[in-house]
């Protein structure tokens, strides 16, 4: 059974068809929630970020150019929102308290504890050691399979800069994850 394309649904949603928009939300919310959770390290924050991103998309859809892929557009809105949240978090944290701050997150989140394997939690902890920009590029590339070109589009930087960030993230993570062997 063929499904209507994202492009068609986005045009309809732009004209005020909220049922078309609901189909788009259902189609993409799981993937975007995964992305936001990987970027923010918190399911609750991720749900807020994805919700805000979709509401923002609904308001902006009348101006959305349908030649851009809706999914790339949503990746961009969610990634930007997460980056802003991560950047806002950092100056308020005392450097020496960061590891302790991140630990109770896992303890206090039974959902996450139940659904994440030990390995994935270890990776999530290691991701906390990256800058927000490196984390975004690495997660988009390795966990969501975006091309360098798509990541450059999503994060508004050059492909060269994307490569640099991913390289540095890999170098840090190979060391950090190697230490857990």
């Amino acid at each position: 059974m063929p499904e209507p394309s994202d492009k068609l649904l986005a045009v309809r949603a732009g004209e005020g068809d909220e049922a078309a928009f609901e189909l788009l939300v259902r189609r993409h919310s799981g993937q975007l929630l995964s992305l936001a959770t990987r970027l923010l390290g918190s399911r609750a924050d991720a749900e807020d970020a994805v919700q805000d991103a979709f509401v923002s998309a609904w308001r902006r859809l009348p101006e959305f150019r349908a030649d851009a892929a809706f999914s790339t557009w949503m990746y961009r809105i969610v990634t930007n929102r997460c980056l802003n949240l991560l950047r806002a978090r950092r100056p308020t944290q005392d450097l020496s308290t960061v590891p302790e701050l991140s630990a109770p997150e896992h303890a206090a989140s039974p959902v996450r504890a139940a659904e994440s394997t030990e390995v994935v939690r270890a990776l999530s902890d290691a991701l906390d050691g990256l800058t927000p920009e490196q984390r975004a590029c690495w997660v988009l590339r390795e966990l969501h399979g975006l091309s360098y070109e798509e990541i450059a589009d999503v994060t508004h930087i050059s492909q060269q800069a994307v490569r640099g960030r991913i390289f540095r993230a890999r170098r840090y993570l190979t060391e950090a994850m190697g230490a857990w062997r």
Partner: protein
């Protein structure tokens, strides 16, 4: 793990859009330093055993190199670490080179974690979807107000509601999806004015502009003709609207990837057309 890989605060080269003092649990020697280490220490890669690597850049190189490649490392075999990691497949050199193999082994450890993380199920999103749609329904965009029936009736319908009827009418045909559907006064000036919030409402003949995505077994003329007729009927009988012009355009083909993959049957056979018209 190669001894030359100091994971130290991974400075971010090409742009200056963030703080450079990044917290580094366990690895940062001086967490209060304002100038993070951005390159591996020279002494760390000085060994000669496989897996050691020399450092390509001096410690004092600024981390915001515009090219973004300032932190790459050159392995003792001469290849750069980033090139080895980015290569899709191992070549003849990589296969036989202990330095390249060591670099790839380091990445392989990470790959195990990546595979597990990718295999994780997507989190349930029903709650988020419901919250989003509750908010969206407080911010509906109904479009123009369009006249129904006779002037004396003073009855109106939102464009979004009329478009919904016309899209559903078109989609009652198999292999057809409706995209953009605009319903507006046939007079262009009145159509523009009718978009203004709080402006005078226009009463008069209307036109519909509908875009379709259709399966390959429709021909454009037969589909357009059929949809025009169905919409004219629906406008008269179901909505009660004076529609005098109906533009139908087929802007996309439904499932063309599938059609190509199957090798494609003759799409416009007489048999197909006959069946559609029954």
């Amino acid at each position: 793990m190669a001894v030359g890989m100091n994971p130290g605060p991974p400075g971010d080269g090409p742009d200056r859009d963030h703080e450079t003092t990044h917290p580094r649990p366990q690895h940062t020697p001086d967490p209060t330093s304002q100038v993070p280490e951005t390159t591996p220490r020279p002494d760390a890669g000085a060994g000669s055993e496989p897996g050691s690597r020399s450092d390509a850049v001096p410690d004092d190189l600024p981390e915001t190199d515009p090219e973004g490649a300032e932190e790459d490392e050159i392995l003792l075999c001469g290849r750069s670490l980033s090139a080895v990691w980015e290569a899709e497949e191992a070549d003849e050199h990589t296969t036989g080179c202990p330095y390249c193999r060591e670099a790839l082994t380091g990445l392989g450890v990470l790959d195990r974690y990546v595979r597990e993380a990718r295999a994780e199920r997507e989190p349930p999103a029903e709650a988020v979807t419901a919250r989003v749609m509750n908010l969206v329904r407080t911010e509906l965009r109904p479009g123009r107000m369009l006249p129904l029936g006779e002037p004396v009736d003073d009855a109106w319908i939102a464009e979004v509601a009329a478009a919904k009827v016309f899209r559903e009418t078109a989609e009652s045909l198999p292999g057809v999806f409706a995209g953009s559907c605009k319903v507006m006064p046939i007079d262009p000036a009145a159509a523009r004015r009718s978009l203004l919030p709080g402006g005078p409402r226009y009463r008069g003949p209307m036109r519909v502009a509908l875009e379709l995505t259709a399966a390959l077994d429709w021909t454009v003329p037969e589909l357009a003709s059929l949809v025009r007729q169905l919409i004219a009927d629906a406008a008269r009988d179901a909505v009660g609207m004076d529609i005098v012009e109906i533009d139908v355009s087929v802007v996309d083909v439904l499932g063309d990837d599938l059609g190509d993959a199957l090798g494609g049957e003759p799409p416009y056979s007489d048999e197909t057309r006959e069946r559609r018209e029954r």
